[in-house]
């Protein structure tokens, strides 16, 4: 199903921002909030994994119902999960379209990767402390 | 540091020492002027060239919140003046609002060694001091804004001048400020509601004090504190046709001088000398202003000359900038500062084809030519409001040459002469007048001769400018192009006994001082423990009292002038 993905800050994201290798950060940054009706249509429940695809990439996240979101709009806090799907084009402004990413979402049995594994996917070498 | 310099064959004009043009030697040791240079001193042959104390700008906007915002919002201005890294010189950008190093190098190569920042909001003082540190070739001073200070206005309302003095003393010491600045007193508070005050007797909303009361109280407070400088005032109604009446009334508030210096310094008076009722019938009232000035030795002014071309206006006078924006419709920034003051910025272009601009241009020159005593009318452009300071040499040339003024007359709006007396003025200023108007007068008005500024006799700070101008071989009236070129670029600029610039290039990294004042007050007048005063920080400021004062670390080479308050 197609959605518009938007991003922003959450208090949890801010709280865990200085420990990005931890499961708590991963859980918040890979949490995708959706309208409950959209979740029904997707046949997913809270905490289920979904594969989100956009801009030629995909990333696994876990769903969370959020009745405050209108249908068709999903929210992910800013961070490395959302940015897998962000296009680097800036329309000559320096600023990517972080707030308006067209994505498609489908249920998956995969689990969200830790941040270090996400970075490995794009050429990094995980550092485990 | 024991390095010495001997400047030989210098054509010296040193008004404060009574030297009016004498070929002589100047000896420097350990940063001071001395009788005799130490053995092994560097010898500079001035070859009869004009040698003056280092230039002092007593009103310029170069550092701090609004200046930096002028840069921030103006990439077009940044592109208009850029230089690469060269030797010890950093990259610079900017024409009317250059980067800090740009300001510093350009001032230095023009022979300026001391600059007073015209407006510092106490709450944002730390910013000004950070930029001072990055302006390394001039000793810096900060006028500190009190025009809309709530605690001051309450003291004025209660007719408690001693309390006003105590508030000033605490604040100047806390923010490492130099002098009291009032910018459109009362008007900046009114601007918190989008309003202004109409004249010096128009009460400020809520506080119910008038600009006249603020000004008079602050003059008294200033004298109680025995501050080196007087109250430094940007009058109400800047830029408003007919504002000369406000200015004259304000000048009448200045009490007779007790000592050697003025009791009131009016800045950029050109902007305050307009007749007429609208922009259509604006005219010069420089004669009225000069007449008042000439009868009041207790008043000193600076010109606030405008020069044609592009510049950026910036002032704490927020309401004025909005009015100006309504005329220009270019871009407008505003920044009100809680409990203290305001500010605004807009870019402008002064055109020879605009009658209003031509009248403004004439008024500044007229003030300087009509003021009988050069010590009472100092050269300024209110940098960058009237023009960037790099235009000073051109202004000097205009003041020294009637021929140059006549040539300019042909270029400007032909109607100008009907609105201004400029072209009837025959006076041409001489080298001495210029020396007074660009350094000695500033040193005296600011009260910094006591720390050795503005003169060249033994004991003075060794701030010296040697210009490629030979006064005995030049007729400034005719050779005005040479005058202009000469004042644009020193042969040598020496600051605190060290050659800092040569032939237009800065040659050392630089390390300046910041000059500030502290008035000692009796314990009962220490506002730091006054319940009413500190309550402002608990309830209305968004910064805690303890985080407000500027720490010593921001003044790596601070010079404190201490006074004993008469409280």
């Amino acid at each position: 199903m197609d959605f518009l993905m938007t991003t922003g800050r959450t208090i949890r994201q801010g709280s865990y921002v200085e420990r990005k290798n931890t499961p708590s950060y991963r859980d918040e940054a890979s949490c995708i909030r959706m309208n409950p009706v959209d979740m029904l249509e997707l046949l997913v429940e809270e905490g289920d994994a979904v594969r989100v695809t956009g801009n030629g990439s995909s990333v696994v996240m876990r769903t969370k119902p959020d009745p405050m979101l209108p249908r068709g709009l999903v929210f992910v806090c800013l961070g490395p999960y959302a940015n897998v799907l962000a296009s680097p084009w800036t329309h000559g402004t320096g600023m990517p379209d972080f707030k308006t990413m067209p994505v498609s979402i489908e249920p998956t049995t995969d689990a969200p990767l830790p941040v270090s594994a996400l970075m490995k996917e794009c050429g990094g070498v995980p550092y485990e402390d | 540091m024991t390095q010495g310099i001997l400047i030989k064959n210098a054509y010296v004009i040193d008004p404060l020492s009574g030297i009016r043009g004498e070929v002589m030697d100047i000896a420097i040791r350990d940063g001071r002027i001395v009788e005799e240079a130490p053995p092994g001193s560097q010898v500079i042959d001035a070859g009869g060239c004009l040698t003056l104390p280092g230039g002092i700008d007593s009103h310029s906007h170069v550092c701090g919140t609004k200046v930096n915002f002028g840069r921030y919002m103006s990439p077009e201005d940044m592109r208009a003046g850029r230089t690469s890294r060269k030797g010890v010189m950093h990259v610079t950008s900017g024409y009317s609002v250059p980067t800090t190093f740009g300001n510093s190098y350009r001032y230095s190569t023009m022979g300026y060694t001391t600059v007073l920042e015209g407006a510092m909001a106490p709450l944002e003082a730390r910013h000004t001091h950070e930029e001072f540190t990055a302006t390394p070739h001039q000793d810096m001073l900060a006028n500190t804004l009190f025009d809309g200070n709530w605690s001051v206005m309450e003291a004025v309302r209660d007719k408690d001048v001693k309390r006003a003095a105590a508030i000033v003393a605490w604040t100047l010491a806390a923010v490492r400020g130099f002098a009291i600045k009032l910018t459109n007193p009362g008007g900046t508070e009114a601007w918190g509601w989008g309003k202004d005050v109409a004249n010096i007797h128009d009460p400020v909303p809520h506080f119910e004090v008038t600009p006249a009361e603020i000004i008079s109280t602050m003059i008294q407070a200033n004298e109680i504190l025995r501050l080196p400088h007087s109250v430094h005032l940007h009058c109400n109604n800047l830029g408003v046709p007919g504002n000369f009446r406000t200015t004259l009334e304000t000048m009448d508030l200045a009490p007779p001088a007790q000592g050697n210096r003025q009791t009131l310094y009016l800045t950029h008076v050109q902007f305050h000398s307009y007749g007429g009722t609208t922009w259509r019938d604006i005219s010069s009232k420089s004669e009225d202003i000069a007449r008042s000035l000439n009868s009041k030795p207790q008043v000193v002014i600076d010109m606030g000359q405008i020069m044609f071309g592009r510049t950026t206006t910036m002032t704490a006078d927020g309401p004025m900038e909005f009015k100006l924006y309504m005329l220009h419709h270019n871009k407008w920034s505003n920044h009100d500062v809680e409990l203290e003051t305001g500010s605004g910025i807009i870019p402008v272009y002064y055109s020879r084809k605009s009658l209003v601009n031509c009248v403004m241009w004439a008024i500044g020159l007229e003030l300087a030519l009509l003021a009988k005593n050069p010590w009472q009318c100092l050269l300024s452009t209110d940098n960058p409001n009237g023009a960037p300071f790099v235009k000073y040499p051109e202004i000097i040339a205009l003041l020294m040459s009637r021929r140059m003024r006549e040539n300019e007359r042909k270029e400007i709006d032909p109607r100008t002469e009907h609105y201004v007396p400029l072209f009837a003025l025959e006076r041409e200023l001489d080298w001495y007048d210029i020396a007074v108007m660009t350094r000695a007068g500033q040193a005296k008005a600011l009260g910094i001769t006591r720390i050795g500024k503005g003169f060249l006799s033994p004991g003075a700070q060794a701030d010296v400018a040697i210009y490629p101008l030979k006064p005995d071989q030049l007729d400034p009236s005719v050779d005005y192009q040479q005058v202009m070129a000469g004042f644009s670029r020193t042969l040598y600029t020496i600051k605190r006994g060290r050659v800092v610039a040569r032939d237009g290039d800065v040659v050392v990294e630089g390390a300046n001082s910041t000059i500030w004042t502290r008035s000692r007050v009796p314990p009962g007048y220490d506002m730091g423990s006054d319940p009413e005063f500190t309550k402002k920080f608990d309830q209305y400021y968004t910064v805690r009292l303890r985080n407000y004062p500027v720490q010593d670390v921001y003044l790596p080479r601070g010079v404190c002038i201490e006074t004993e308050a008469a409280l």
Binding site: T6, T7, G8, R9, T10, I11, G14, S15, Y16, E18, N21, N55, S57, M68, L73, L78, P80, N83, L85, A86, P88, T90, T93, G94, M95, P96, F98, K99, T100, S116, C122, G124, V125, P126, Y127, D129 | T65, N68, P75, M78, R82, V91, T100, R126, H127, A134, W193, G194, F322, K331, W332, S333, N334, D336, E338, Y540, T542, R544, N547, Q551
Partner: protein
Amino acid sequence: MRIEDVVCPFCGCLCDDLVVSVEGTKVLSVENGCTLATEKFTGDHRLAHPIRRTGGSWEKTTYDVAIRETAEILLDAERPLLYGWSGTFVEAQTIGVHLAELLGAVIDNTSTVCHGPSIMAIQEVGHPGCTLGQVKNRADVIVYWGANPIEAHPRHMSRYTTFADGFFVKSAFRDRKVIVVDIRETDSSEIADEFVKVTPGGDYAVLSALRMIVRGKGELVPEKVSGVTREQLFRVANICLSARFGAIFFGLGLTMSRGKYKNIRNAIELTEELNRHTKFTISPMRGHWNVYGSNEVFTWITGYPYAVDFSRGIAFYNPGETTSVDILRRKECDACLVVASDPGAHFPRACAGHLASIPTVQIDPHVNATTHLSRIQIPVAVTGIDAEGTAYRMDGVPIRTRQLFSTDYPDDVAVLGRIYSLVKEAKG
């Protein structure tokens, strides 16, 4: 030990009224702070020592080696990018700019993916703003547009706006109207007197409609503009027009969405229009505690607030070209020094991928996403905890952060100063 009036180095609110209890080098408790402050002060996930990577494995190294190799990487680069800066203090940012100048590098700060578009708009039309105390003491109308302060700036409302009693606004919650404009409901919109829900990408049109009403051309406004009814637009415009002092705060909902800097320009022009009728100000909700400091320092040294390219000797600025995301997308830079930020987490993946393919060095107290992309990471003291220096609040008010205790970590000035010296020595 209880330390009062502590400055919080988290968000642009730069709250300076925290009370922090410390014992030795451990923070025991934080009073007055929000959750973010408490997490920041009590956090204990520091990188213990410098690390370096050769090929596919990480090893512990010394400061001497890490600093020397960093200097070598920068000296070896043809087009280095020095990115970040918002999470450190002004004195360190100053060294960064001079280092960029010396190297002929591009230097950019996190505004580039935050309020960069706001800066571009300000450069077109200016910025009528004020300090936050002006709002607290006077404002009777507050507008949050594309901002969610409860999540991003948790004390903004209680210190400066909705819940902050001021001199002329004795009972803030009662006397102040709050308008929230967003594309979705948030905790912030819940407490608004008026919530304006805009369809995504529709802010520009809504701003234009409001400007028309303020200008007296309301009859031209259609029944619905980007999901907002004409009736509500008139109601909002009238609330603004009848304010004694109105203050608009805007967030990334405007800077990142369609229209980008043009949205901000329109919002500023609305503010300017309103000033013809009453007093109105507008202010960006700056994110990092000292991102504004990086803009200030960049500006007084180079003339430009971000995205400064020294490669031609002079300072050159052209957002869209000299901005980090664009430089990384073009795979243009051949080395990157990241200071006090995390582009690995906050840049599009293609940009993170380029960082992994070039020698990237990170100076940061914590392991973050960028760590995994780097060759070297140098941990430093945390400003406001074990280091101190100047920060600029979102409204430009400069405050000195406080060092609560000292540790063995060098601060950013110490590390950057040594890199600068090595580069200067090599450059002669």
